[in-house]
Symmetry: C2
Subunit: 446 residues, 2 copies
C-alpha cells in the first residue's frame, strides 16, 4: 500500500459535506481500488463554525481557498466553490501552478476557462478532472473520454438540467402551468429563488459545451450555443405533443455535420418511444450516437450532494491510481476550432402552434407562405373551429386582437431550415392571418 | 508521439473483422487520445483465404492463436475466438505468461477462468481487459470499476441477452408465441440454431457473474447463480403483466444483503414505468443501485460486431495510454469469497398463474395453503369463470385432466420467500385443486 493521498476540499456546501462523508465511509473500497488510502486532510469554507454534520477532527481549516490550493499539506485539490470566475478560478489555477492535481464540479468554470486550465494542467503534467460538472452522478465524461475512445461521435443529446425536467414532467402529469410547477420546484428546493439560470437553458448550455468538446475533439465554444428556455411551454403544447406521440424535453443537442458543429439548447419534441422521453422528474439522461457503437443512453441522478460527490470521488480515485488521462481526452493543442453552424442553418422537423384568424382563406394564406419557403407539412391539427377563442386555456397568453375570432392550429413540418420556418411565420404574421407570435418547437428525430 | 502499439487479433469473425476496420478508420482519434499509433500487425484465423472485407495487407498471418500470443511481433493480444476452454484459454494464458496485455470479449472464459487469469496478469504486471464481454458496446465494466469507484453497490439488474429481449419484445408487440418469435429471431440471425445457451439464461448468467464480481468485490462464483430461461413464458403471462402494469424481461439480478450475495437469472416482472422496462428489441440495459449515487441505468447495443469492437477498442486505448487498472478493479487476492444466498431464501413479490379446478371451495383451499405459509396476497385476478378451458390459448400447455373444468387465476403476492411460495403451490397441487404446474414469475421492485 502506497502513501495516503492527502485531499484538500474547498467549499463545504451540500456536495462538500457529502464528499467528506463518502471518503470516510467508502475508505476501504477506495484504498483497495487505488492501492492507497485517500484522506481529507484540509478544508476551506466561509464559515468555520457551521455544523455540517461531518467530522472534521484532525482536519486543517483554511479560511482562504487559494491558501489551501497552494499548501504543501495536500496532494490533490478539490474545488466545490462554484462560479466561473473569482475565487474558484484563482484557487484552481493556484493549485495547478503548484503542480497539484485538481478535481472540480464547476461547470461554469470549465465551460469558460476549461481550455486555459487544461493547458496549464498538461504543462504541469497533472490531472484536471471534472466528471461531476455534467450530469452529477452519471459517468458521461468518462464514457465519452474513455469508454467510446474508438468512436467518432455523430450526435449527442441530453436532459442535463433536473429542474427543467422536473417542471416539464410535473406539467405533463399534473396538468399545471409552468409558473405553478416552477413554484413547486422552488418549494422542494429543486429550483433557485432566481430560476433564470436553470429554466432559461443556461445551465444546460454550460454542460453541453463541455460534452461537445469531449465528443468532437473540439475547442470549447460555449458562446456558439443557441439557447432557449422552457418558460413559454404551455399545456396546449403538451397536449398536442401527447396527441402526436411526442414528449417535450429541454434538450442540449450537439451534432457534427460535414459543415461543422451545431450546438443548441431548446425545448424539443422527442418520440415517446425513445429512452430519453421516458426520463421523468429530476433525473438526467444523455444519448450518444457514435460510429461504430450506435446509440448509447445513460440515465441517472444529475444533481444532489451524494450523486455529485460520487462523481468527484471517482475522479479522485482515478488520480490516486495514477491514471494518466488528459482533461479533454486529447492534448488541448489538438482540439479543433470547428466551424459553428448558426441556428438559422439548423435543419429538422418543426412543431408550430399558431392562433389563426377564423376566416375563409386564412389557412390557405399560411399554406402559401409555407409553400413559398418549400416547407412540406407532415400534419395539420385544428382544434375548436370557430370556437377557437372559447377553448383557450388559462395558461395561454391572451390573444392580441380581442375583437377577432381565432382558431388554434398545430402544424408539423417535414425537415426544413430554421430560416425557412422563421421567414414563413414572419410573413404570415405580417399578412395578418396569424394573430400572435407563434410557438415553435423543434423535433429531434432518432 | 510514442512508438506504435502492435496489436495481434486472434479470431477474424464478425467482431474481429469489425475491430480491424475500426482500428484503421479511427486511427487518428485513437492515436490522439493515447499518444501512440495503434496498428494491427498480426492476426490468426482458421481460414486464411476467406474474404472478410478487411484489408490485411502487410499483416502477418498466424495459423495458431497460441503462436500469435507468444510472438514478439505484437505488444497486445486480442482474443476473439470464444469458448471457456480450449484454444482461447490456452492463447490468453500464453500471452499473459509472456508479459503481454490481453483484451478479450470472451464472457465464458472470464466467468470460468477470470480469477486465475487476472491473478496471472497481476503477477506479470500487465492488463487483462474484458469490457466487451458484457453488454457489448455499453461501458458497464468501466462504470462499475472506475466510474462508481466511490460507491458500494447494493444491487444491479439488467437485460444482458439481446436474443431473449428480442423474443419477449416481439411476443408482446406481435402477440406471437415463444416458439414463433424464436424462429423469427433465428431467421434474423439474433438466435443460434441451438438457442439453449441464450433462451435458457446461461449467457446472461456468465455476464452476471462478471458484473457481480466487479460490483461487490467478490470472487466470481458463476455456479452460485440460479438460472431460469424464458421458454415457459406465454401470451397469458404477458397479458396479465400488461394488466398489472408490468413487463416481463429476462433479468440477471445480483444483490448484496447482510447475509451475502444473491445472484439469479429468470424472467422478471418489472414495472412499466422503470427505465429497464422501456428497453425493447435486441438492446441491453443495466441498472446499478449504489451508495451514494442512487440508481444509474445504461442502455445500448449488447451485441453485434461493431458494438463489441467499440468496447474492445476502448480497452485497447486504455492499455495504449498506460492506464494501470486491475482486471477486477481491486487486487484479485482481495476479492472476497462471499456467502451464497440460495434461491430458496430469496424474498420478494411473486406472480403466480394457476389453473384451478372450477368447483366450490377450490379458491378457499388455495388461499388456505397461502395463509399457512404466511403469504399475503396483493391481488387476485380470475379470468373466464366456468369457461376456463374454453379460453385456453394455443400457447398454453394442455391441461392434465381433460375431464375437469378449470379457470385461470393470477395471484400477486406481497414480499414472501421462495420456499414459502413453492411449498404452498406444491401442497395446492397435492390437494388436487390446481391442475398443472403453476407458472411462477418473480417481481423485481425498484
Amino acid at each position: 500500500m502506497s502513501e495516503a493521498l492527502r485531499v484538500g476540499v474547498a467549499g463545504l456546501g451540500v456536495v462538500g459535506a457529502s464528499l467528506v462523508r463518502l471518503l470516510k465511509r467508502q475508505s476501504e473500497g477506495l484504498s483497495s481500488r487505488t492501492g492507497r488510502p485517500i484522506v481529507v486532510t484540509a478544508v476551506s469554507a466561509r464559515d468555520r463554525s457551521r455544523d455540517r454534520g461531518v467530522d472534521l477532527n484532525g482536519v486543517t481549516f483554511f479560511d482562504d481557498p487559494k491558501a489551501l490550493a497552494a499548501s504543501d499539506a495536500i496532494d490533490l485539490f478539490v474545488e466545490l466553490i462554484g462560479g466561473a470566475d473569482g475565487i474558484a478560478y484563482d484557487a484552481v489555477k493556484t493549485a495547478l501552478e503548484h503542480g497539484r492535481p485538481v478535481v472540480t464540479a464547476n461547470k461554469a468554470l470549465i465551460a469558460k476557462h476549461g481550455l486555459e486550465l487544461a493547458k496549464l494542467a498538461e504543462d504541469k503534467g497533472v490531472a484536471l478532472a471534472f466528471e461531476s460538472s455534467v450530469a452529477g452522478g452519471v459517468p458521461v465524461i468518462k464514457t465519452l473520454r474513455e469508454g467510446l475512445a474508438g468512436n467518432s461521435i455523430r450526435r449527442l443529446y441530453g436532459i442535463l438540467n433536473g429542474t427543467c425536467n422536473y417542471i416539464l414532467s410535473k406539467m405533463e402529469t399534473d396538468g399545471l402551468s409552468f409558473e405553478e410547477c416552477l413554484a413547486e420546484a422552488q418549494r422542494l428546493g429543486y429550483a433557485e429563488a432566481d430560476p433564470t439560470f436553470d429554466v432559461g437553458g443556461f445551465d444546460t448550455a454550460h454542460k453541453l459545451a463541455i460534452l461537445a468538446s469531449l465528443a468532437f475533439g473540439a475547442a470549447i465554444d460555449a458562446e456558439a450555443i443557441h439557447v432557449e428556455g422552457i418558460e413559454t411551454i404551455t399545456q396546449d403544447d403538451l397536449a398536442a405533443a401527447d396527441e402526436l406521440g411526442y414528449r417535450i424535453k429541454l434538450l442540449g443537442v450537439a451534432e457534427r455535420t460535414a459543415r461543422g458543429v451545431e450546438q443548441r439548447v431548446h425545448p424539443t419534441m422527442v418520440a415517446k418511444t425513445t429512452a430519453i422521453a421516458q426520463v421523468m422528474g429530476v433525473l438526467n439522461a444523455i444519448t450518444i450516437d457514435g460510429d461504430p457503437v450506435g446509440e448509447l443512453t445513460l440515465v441517472g441522478p444529475g444533481a444532489g450532494g451524494d450523486a455529485t460527490a460520487s462523481a468527484v470521488a471517482a475522479d479522485i480515485a482515478d488520480i490516486a491510481r495514477g491514471a494518466a488521462i488528459r482533461p479533454f481526452g486529447r492534448p488541448v493543442g489538438s482540439l479543433e476550432e470547428v466551424e459553428r453552424i448558426p441556428m438559422q442553418r439548423h435543419e429538422g422537423g418543426y412543431y408550430v402552434r399558431l392562433m389563426v384568424v377564423d376566416r375563409p382563406g386564412a389557412m390557405a394564406a399560411i399554406a402559401t407562405r409555407m409553400a413559398e419557403q418549400r416547407i412540406s407539412l407532415e400534419s395539420i391539427m385544428q382544434k375548436g373551429g370557430g370556437a377557437g377563442l372559447g377553448r383557450r386555456r388559462r395558461t395561454d397568453p391572451p390573444p392580441k386582437k380581442q375583437d377577432q375570432e381565432t382558431v388554434r392550429v398545430v402544424l408539423i413540418t417535414h425537415a426544413t431550415s430554421e430560416t425557412a420556418i422563421r421567414d414563413a411565420l414572419d410573413l404570415a404574421l405580417a399578412d395578418g392571418v396569424v394573430t400572435q407570435k407563434p410557438q415553435v418547437i423543434r423535433i429531434e428525430r432518432e
